[in-house]
């Protein structure tokens, strides 16, 4: 024997990935078979995979003043309300039954739950809402979203009508209560004025001493005008007295004020109301004072020149009259001084009884005015509620409108079939590759010189091409 076996003969060559890959690729028929099987198994799965189509509709929400609260309904709050309405179990179950959706669920509540997963409402800018529904069939998606929006708009309108009716009923009751309150307080005021009639007269804006002062002043001004006319030369007109003009202006102001008060009370009060009677009396008195003041302040007539007397002065009767007028003027001046003094000091002598009556009267008047204001405000809201109810009931102007109707989707939302096909192909490829790899690992047949060196640990002298197709079993 020439030599012994060296260690190198049995040392296996290092395994390289390339070598493993080459051995794996030798099992390409297995790879192709498994791949074809995987694809064949994946095709029905892909074909049975349902596509997802999304239909959309846009709703416009008109922001209107809410009857009752008076504040605008925000989009977010309206969105929450609409979402609750849209996803109500009863509505979804009814539509699922109508359109025979999800027939695999015998329990229709489960079908409604299944539908709820596919219905979405998005609040967008501009007070619009996007309602979407996902389904496997584009026509079903469109029909379902159309039906959803239709019922949502209708139910929203019905809810609005119901709210308006409820508000109107509430306001009617409130109006009745406030009317009774006003009536009760007016009755209390009337009774008070009947017991204390002086209170109504005492509320006149012109005090008695002032009125008396004006009267005395007018008399005094008249006398002075007469004396001036008597003393004036013949043919000369005198200028109006400034005091008289001031009296006329005050009388005109008093008349205007009293008339305004009368007009205001005539609109609100009946003829039997004491306030109205007081206002009429005041207006009448102001008119009379104005007439009197105007008469006194009227421009003096041109007086015929008096015939001079024998001594060159006025005649004796004229003199006498002048003297009498002077004495009366002096007396009126004293009276004016007294009245002015009396008017100045009257604030200090307050009648306690009159003050208490005045306070009580003012309280009653305040209560009546407050009740009337509440009643007026309530009547205004009642009018709004009636209008809203009428509009809502007519349906001509809904709060929720369909801005963009449901459209039929042309393309699927997510191409699930493509994803499933890719996944199936990937799985088939991995299975085929894995099977080929396992087969290569299990198959220790020698395919070439590299295999012989690697797997048998022996160097290859030469690789001879085959001269026959298949190994012959009969010969060595």
């Amino acid at each position: 024997m020439a030599g012994a076996l060296t260690e190198g003969h049995m040392r296996a060559a290092p395994v390289t990935p390339w070598h493993v890959a080459r051995r794996t690729l030798r099992h390409w028929p297995v790879f192709l078979a498994v791949l074809a099987t995987g694809i064949a198994a994946g095709v029905p799965v892909v074909l049975r995979t349902e596509q997802v189509y999304r239909s959309e509709a846009v709703l416009l929400y008109r922001q209107t003043a809410r009857v009752g609260s008076g504040e605008a309904d925000s989009s977010r709050r309206a969105g929450s309300r609409l979402q609750d309405m849209l996803l109500s179990q009863e509505r979804l179950r009814r539509i699922a039954d109508e359109m025979r959706l999800y027939p695999q669920h015998a329990d229709r509540n489960v079908a409604a739950d299944e539908m709820r997963k596919r219905v979405m409402l998005h609040v967008r800018d501009g007070s619009t809402f996007l309602v979407t529904f996902d389904a496997a069939d584009p026509a079903v998606a469109q029909a379902a979203i159309a039906r959803l929006t239709q019922t949502l708009i209708r139910d929203n309108a019905l809810q609005r009508v119901s709210e308006a009716e409820e508000t109107r009923r509430l306001l009617d009751g409130e109006h009745q209560r406030l009317a009774q309150e006003v009536n009760k307080r007016e009755t209390a005021l009337t009774e008070f004025l009947r017991v204390h009639p002086e209170a109504a007269l005492a509320r006149s804006p012109a005090p008695d001493n002032r009125r008396e002062l004006d009267t005395v002043q007018r008399e005094f001004a008249g006398l002075r005008a007469g004396r001036l006319r008597a003393d004036a030369p013949a043919g000369v007109t005198t200028r109006p007295d400034p005091d008289l003009l001031a009296i006329v202006r005050r009388a005109e102001q008093e008349l205007a004020t009293s008339r305004l008060e009368l007009a205001e009370r005539e609109q609100r009060l009946t003829d039997a109301h004491p306030d109205l009677m007081t206002a009429r009396e005041r207006a009448r008195r102001a008119q009379a004072d104005l007439l009197q003041a105007r008469e006194l302040a009227a421009p003096p007539l041109v007086i015929e020149p008096a015939r001079p007397s024998a001594n060159g002065g006025p005649s004796s009767p004229a003199r006498y009259a002048t003297d009498m007028a002077g004495a009366e003027m002096a007396s009126l001046e004293q009276e004016i001084t007294r009245l002015r003094r009396t008017g100045t000091g009257s604030g200090r002598r307050i009648n306690r009884h009159a003050l208490r009556v005045e306070v009580e009267l003012e309280g009653l008047r305040h209560d009546v005015e407050q009740a009337r204001q509440q009643l007026a405000s309530l009547e205004e809201r009642q009018l709004q509620a009636a209008m809203v109810e009428k509009v809502a009931a007519s349906g001509a102007l809904g709060q929720l409108a369909l801005l963009d109707p449901a459209s039929r989707p042309g393309l699927p939302l997510v191409d699930v079939r493509k994803k499933v096909a890719l996944a199936a192909l990937t799985v088939a490829l991995m299975l085929a590759g894995g099977t080929a790899l396992l087969r290569a690992r299990a198959d220790d047949r020698i395919f070439n010189d590299t295999d012989a060196e690697w797997m048998a640990g022996q160097s290859v002298l030469v690789t001879v091409p085959s001269t026959q197709g298949r190994p012959r079993r009969n010969h060595a």
Partner: protein
């Protein structure tokens, strides 16, 4: 000169004082006892398709066998090469025949292709020798047990220097090779041939290769691609170790 019969008498006590009786003959046959080789010329009428050196000597496969010849030269130029495989039907006879033809075509060496596969002899058929009319190696091996000086009859193939010693029909009960006889025969052939290529039986189908391997200078294992398993090849290598394995010849599929 006929081989003297084995002496059954014990040697003299003077010559061998030991009480142990000798069991083997110590004297080797001299040059005069070396048997002759008688070649019977046989024309290759119809060569097998696998004998590429004959059918397509310019082909790629023939070139590979010539390369194999050079590889063996690089491996120490073994004179007696035993060609075997792990299992049957892996191309042992094809490789041995083509290797012998590749060496013989040089016309400088005498080459003997010796068939040692008693279980599936196929060399005669491969070279289209007449059935049971060619010298049988197994029969001559049995003959040389009793007549060691008998000449070896071989078949000379074509015009080359390739001699063939194939196995004819062997009874199943007699298919057992005798290692000393084979070794003696191979030794005798070495005297007449520069190269002796032995077509051996598979390693894993019996113990024949282990009986033959000591007489050879190198062993060439044959593996057929897509057919031979690495595990069998490793087992074969383990079974014949520590023999000098020149390498593996892979027959591509």
């Amino acid at each position: 000169m006929p081989e003297p019969p084995l002496s059954k008498e014990p040697p003299s006590s003077q010559a061998r004082p030991s009480s142990v009786l000798p069991l083997f003959r110590t004297e080797r046959p001299g040059p005069a006892a070396r048997p002759e080789v008688v070649a019977e010329r046989h024309a290759v009428a119809r060569a097998d398709q696998g004998l590429v050196l004959l059918t397509s000597p310019t082909g790629r496969a023939a070139a590979k066998y010539r390369a194999l010849r050079h590889r063996l030269l690089e491996h120490g130029d073994p004179k007696a090469v035993l060609v075997t495989s792990a299992h049957a039907s892996e191309g042992t006879t094809t490789v041995a025949s083509n290797l012998a033809l590749a060496i013989a075509e040089l016309r400088r060496y005498r080459v003997l292709l010796l068939e040692a596969n008693l279980h599936r002899p196929s060399l005669a058929a491969r070279f289209a020798l007449p059935h049971n009319q060619h010298p049988c190696f197994f029969a001559q091996l049995e003959e040389h047990r009793s007549t060691p000086a008998a000449p070896w009859r071989v078949t000379e193939m074509g015009a080359g220097d390739l001699h063939l010693l194939a196995v004819g029909a062997v009874a199943a009960e007699a298919r057992r090779i005798d290692a000393p006889s084979f070794a003696a025969a191979l030794e005798a052939m070495r005297a007449h041939y520069e190269y002796v290529i032995v077509d051996a039986p598979p390693v894993l189908t019996g113990p024949d290769v282990n009986l033959l391997q000591d007489a050879a200078d190198a062993i060439v294992l044959v593996a057929r691609a897509r057919h031979t398993r690495a595990r069998a090849l490793r087992e074969a290598i383990e079974q014949i170790s520590p023999a000098d394995i020149a390498g593996v010849v892979v027959i591509a599929a």
